[in-house]
């Protein structure tokens, strides 16, 4: 079934007084169990698009539907459902983790949200331990601060927080781009495992086509707020039809002989 759907989405920002049209009339749908990649470079509008899908940004025109119900003008119960069901992981854990909170509190925070039933608060401590286990942070104490962790560990904290409300859709916005190449493989393996074990629907945003190819079965390529190509990941990777997609693919640095 279709979980998230964008219909004629359009977003215009004002930057120093001038209107900038970040997203131009985009239609997109994400079905349960999908692993959708959104590829594009900075300024392509990919972050704006997923923030609108997560209900964190209002579109200028068009609609986002979650489980068939429009998010704009959703009633209280529908909004609760969205906030529980769709969670995001951001690019840079230095910005996505509050430096003055302990990581246990960061992971537990969504459990204390007004959209969650009060009953789960009683089990918050066990739930945090379970989540830290899940993201392979079992050797880290929950009372440390983010700056005491490595970049890879911090991103795991962000993933654990996103999983806390047991969402069905996980939106990852450049979740491995700020990491060292050598740490990236680790986090990608973790995401692959979590998608399988937690039955997650994945929307993965990246500028790196090879990462999207590894994680996603379907992808869209965005440029200047428009989708320029979409289809099965393997097919696009093997034979890009759009010039820009081809250029993106050719630009990914590779080791000689690979």
């Amino acid at each position: 079934m279709t979980l998230l759907e964008a219909r004629g989405l359009d977003k215009t920002y004002r930057r120093s007084g001038n209107p900038v049209r970040a997203i131009r009339c985009i239609d997109l749908s994400v079905a349960s169990g999908d692993r959708l990649g959104i590829v594009g470079e900075s300024g392509s509008g990919k972050s704006t698009l997923v923030r609108m899908l997560a209900g964190l940004l209002e579109p200028s025109f068009g609609q986002v539907l979650y489980r068939g119900n429009p998010i704009n003008g959703a009633n209280r119960e529908q909004l609760r459902e969205l906030r529980r069901g769709v969670q995001m992981v951001f690019q840079d854990p230095r910005s996505s983790l509050n430096p003055r909170m302990r990581i246990g509190d960061i992971i537990a925070e969504p459990l204390f949200s007004p959209v969650q039933p009060r009953s789960i608060r009683a089990h918050a401590v066990e739930r945090v331990a379970e989540l830290m286990d899940l993201v392979e942070l079992d050797d880290v104490a929950p009372n440390v601060y983010p700056h005491e962790l490595s970049g890879g560990q911090r991103q795991r904290v962000a993933i654990a927080r996103a999983l806390a409300p047991a969402p069905e859709v996980l939106i990852a916005d450049e979740a491995v781009s700020a990491l060292d190449v050598s740490v990236r493989a680790h986090v990608l393996n973790l995401i692959t495992d979590l998608v399988a074990t937690q039955n997650l629907t994945l929307v993965f945003v990246s500028h790196d086509l090879t990462v999207v190819r590894h994680l996603c079965d379907r992808m869209v390529v965005m440029r200047d707020g428009v989708i320029v190509e979409q289809g099965r990941t393997e097919a696009i990777h093997a034979n890009p039809t759009d010039d820009y997609t081809a250029r993106l693919l050719a630009s990914v640095p590779r080791l000689p002989g690979h």
């Binding site: 470079e41 900075s42 490595s150 970049g151 060292d180 190449v181 050598s182 740490v183 990236r184 493989a185 680790h186 990608l188 393996n189 692959t192 500028h207 790196d208 090879t210 990462v211 190819r213 590894h214 994680l215 990941t233 393997e234 250029r247 993106l248 050719a250 630009s251 990914v252 640095p253 590779r254 080791l255 000689p256 002989g257 690979h258």
Partner: protein
């Protein structure tokens, strides 16, 4: 030997564990060395030590020789004659490395006038020339722009122009393309490549991305926790890594070699094998 670093150890403040210890490498005229390692491995400390930019809290021992002349322990005044003239440096973050209150052209011109002593007109001509050389299409407009009016790629090119304008013999580039988009990164690397080939300058290239280092350098040194664990010609190191960490880096560098959705190799796999 243009640059020769020997047994370089740096400690900060009262800490007993050194940030880097016993580092040694050399760069010949026109040679390109890639320094690779993860964040916190001491790559940037090494490059800052070579440039004499570490600050008062650093305690440095060992030797850094520039054309046979020892630099460790020399005054900052002595260093500043080398910086921007014989050695140029490009940093990772193009926004913070440029002064937001000054037009880009003037920032480049200052470097010219500081070392070459050119007058205003000569400096301006040289600035426009170098901006064109780094692949900026409209040098006049770029020179008259403030940093925040430029894109990330344009800013990074201005920084490269600043580093190269006095035709240094060695360029030190610390993650110069990490903050850029892949297509922009590809272009900037290409221009850097061409410029170095034209001027015959040497390169110390620092990155966590093996594929990028491999694109630019003929020799690499692998850093791990403050030490160089392996060094050699690129093809040799890639073909026959001696250290398990290097083998791990090579395996993680290219995810297209793994089947989509399959488990990717990680560095730890290689530690276990050894």
């Amino acid at each position: 030997m243009m640059l020769k670093v020997d047994q370089l150890t740096v400690r900060f403040g009262r800490r007993t564990t050194p940030a880097i210890s016993g580092i040694g490498f050399h760069i010949d005229q026109g040679e390109r060395l890639g320094l690779i390692g993860e964040s916190g491995s001491g790559k940037s400390v090494t490059s800052l030590a070579v440039m004499g930019l570490l600050g008062d809290t650093a305690r440095i021992s060992g030797s850094i020789r520039w054309k046979g002349e020892e630099l460790v322990g020399r005054s900052d005044a002595h260093y500043s004659r080398l910086r921007g003239a014989a050695m140029g440096m490009v940093f990772q973050e193009p926004m913070t490395a440029l002064d937001p209150t000054m037009r880009c052209g003037r920032q480049v011109a200052e470097v010219v006038r500081l070392h070459a002593g050119a007058d205003r007109g000569q400096a301006r001509a040289k600035v426009l020339e170098i901006l064109a050389t780094v692949g900026l299409a409209d040098p006049e407009r770029i020179a008259d722009s403030y940093p925040d009016e430029l894109s990330g790629g344009q800013r990074q090119r201005v920084l490269i122009a600043m580093a190269m304008v006095n035709s240094p013999q060695l360029l030190i580039a610390d993650e110069p393309t990490t903050a850029l988009d892949v297509t922009v990164q590809a272009k900037v690397l290409e221009e850097l490549d061409r410029m170095l080939a034209n001027t015959g300058a040497g390169l110390l290239f620092i990155s966590h991305d093996l594929a990028v280092v491999a694109r630019m350098c003929e020799r690499i040194a692998v850093m791990y926790r403050g030490s160089i664990v392996e060094t050699g010609r690129l093809d040799q190191v890639l073909g026959n890594p001696q250290h398990p960490y290097t083998a791990g880096l090579i395996a993680t560098a290219d995810i297209t070699s793994a089947e989509p959705g399959s488990r990717l190799p990680v560095i730890q796999d290689f530690w276990r094998q050894s």
